[in-house]
């Protein structure tokens, strides 16, 4: 179980509780967090679940696969702390995670 905070591009915060093993994308979709569409349902095929991970958490969100890397490379407004939220798996270690959704997904 982990608490995750989603911040809109305009600063609106939403806290969500999510079970271990789910992805951060699923936590968002299950709780109607706007800005994360996840059209492909987590197949790393669409880049519509792009988030910016708070710098303090970047080291804990796991490895970026080659596929995610290339999808991100072509997502809009990629930054150093960009991830596809469908590829971040929730665990106790991520309790308190803070991510921001990009403006282009709203």
């Amino acid at each position: 179980m982990a608490k995750i905070t989603f911040i809109d591009h305009d600063g609106t915060k939403r806290d969500v509780e999510a079970d271990n093993g789910l992805s951060v994308m699923e936590a968002a979709v299950n709780n109607m967090v706007p800005g994360i569409d996840a059209d492909c349902g987590g197949a790393c095929a669409c880049a519509t679940c792009h988030v910016y991970v708070d710098d303090a958490w970047m080291g804990k969100t796991g490895e970026i696969s080659d596929m995610e890397e290339t999808m991100l490379d072509f997502a809009e407004d990629r930054r150093e702390n960009s991830r596809l939220s469908c590829q971040i798996k929730i665990s106790d270690d991520l309790d308190g995670l803070v991510v921001t959704t990009p403006e282009s997904q709203h």
């Binding site: 349902g41 790393c44 669409c46 290339t70 490379d73």
Partner: protein
């Protein structure tokens, strides 16, 4: 300007991707009235793409397949009625009628009736061991016969057939695919990409036979043999039929709503009745990028049209204008497709298919209209963007892997 009265009750018929998204979008758009979602299956809206992939292979449990968790519907106050089929739309009374005669009144109605499998009409098609793949129940049925060592015949080399072939092979089944056309994925891709998928599947151990249909299934209660169109027979323990889907238009048609190759809708998903909207596989809709009316069988279309229909039901016009896109997972391959390639006059390959990482770009009069990308995300992502822009792209730049995809259009 007179403010239109806001609806009090919105009824959604169907419980697929489109229905789930409609319910969510209505709330996100600020609708505070009553939402009734009526579905004939016993399940909450769920995602169909994993059915032929990770749900069949057992990697995903049913909870992960649901579109939203059960408590979403409680929180969003959606009155979900499952195991319930709508048999009639009474447009005069603005009510839908369900199997048991219950009448549900609506102010606005959204039809997300989706599609159903095309059935194979052949003697013996009702034998045990013969399956289709469209619903959770279909997969649960298929799983009871899905065991290592079984001989499986798959009728139809479309996405469903090929995805199941890949999973079946991994499970140790012996797999034969029968296809009427001379190539796999004939309806959706070019001969070049078909050849690649033929090679991938045959190298993996799938036996693909072209120009064959099944004329009869034989067995003593359970499938034992398939008779092919050339008269030969094939031993089989299990069959999967994947020969396409048909849009569910009958409910709308019977109510006098305009239908032709799908429920006819305009750019905001409105049908010929201004209080009735439709979204997803069941619609035929205008696509401004291609300048023609199309019907799509895809998740992306169901989701995007659902958002448009939900907004339109609340009096907000958010015209639908999307580049269609699709994906398929087979073995270690991720196929991502954007656009529609019908009418292309040139196909440009970028990368070597033998490396299992390449893309096929389709051009018409020099304009990029579609791309099929295999393990090639940059080609897919940039291709999709350029298709939306109706960009002209020089074939020699597309073909040259030394030209970065980001710069491919700069000429």
């Amino acid at each position: 300007m007179t403010a239109e009265t806001q609806p009090e009750v919105i009824v959604i018929v169907g419980a697929g991707h489109g229905a789930g998204q409609c319910a969510a979008s209505l709330r996100q758009e600020g609708f505070e009235g009553k939402i009734v979602l009526i579905g004939e299956e016993p399940y909450l809206p769920y995602q169909r793409p994993p059915l032929s992939k990770k749900f069949l292979s057992g990697e995903l449990t049913i909870e992960r397949v649901y579109f939203k968790p059960a408590d979403f519907y409680a929180t969003a106050e959606v009155d979900v009625r499952l195991n319930t089929r709508v048999t009639e739309i009474d447009r005069a009374a603005k009510e839908v009628v369900t199997t048991d005669g219950t009448r549900v009144a609506y102010d606005k109605l959204i039809l997300t009736t989706g599609s159903r499998v095309r059935e194979l009409k052949a003697p013996g098609a009702g034998l045990k061991g013969i399956h289709y793949l469209r619903t959770i129940d279909d997969v649960e049925g298929l799983k009871t016969d899905f065991h290592a060592g079984k001989r499986m015949v798959i009728v139809g080399a479309g996405y469903v057939g090929l995805e199941v072939a890949a999973v079946a092979l991994k499970h140790g089944l012996e797999v034969t695919v029968l296809e009427m056309e001379p190539r796999v994925l004939a309806r959706v891709t070019s001969p070049e990409v078909s050849q690649f998928f033929h090679d991938v599947h045959t190298e993996a151990g799938v036996n693909i036979l072209y120009g064959h249909a099944v004329t009869e299934f034989k067995g003593d209660g359970h499938l034992q043999e398939a008779v092919l169109s050339n008269g030969s027979t094939m031993q089989a323990d299990i069959a999967l039929i994947g020969i396409g889907i048909l849009p569910n238009v009958e409910l709308a048609e019977a109510a006098g709503i305009a239908c032709h190759n799908g429920i006819q809708v305009d750019e905001v998903c409105r049908t010929s009745d201004p209080d009735i909207f439709a979204a997803g596989d069941c619609t035929e809709h205008p696509n401004p990028i291609y300048g023609r009316r199309i019907r799509l069988e895809s998740v992306h279309n169901a989701l995007e049209q659902a958002k448009t229909a939900a907004a339109a039901a609340l009096g907000k016009e958010k015209p639908y204008a999307q580049v269609p896109w699709f994906w398929s997972d087979q073995y270690d391959l991720k196929l991502q497709m954007a656009g529609l390639n019908q009418g292309y006059d040139e196909v440009v390959l970028r990368g070597d298919p033998k490396s299992r990482k390449f893309a096929a770009f389709y051009l018409k009069d020099g304009v990029l209209i579609a791309v099929d990308a295999i393990n090639a995300a940059p080609e897919y992502m940039i291709g999709r963007k350029l298709i939306g822009e109706k960009a002209r792209v020089a074939p020699e730049r597309l073909r040259d892997i030394n030209v970065n995809m980001k710069e491919v259009a700069d000429s």
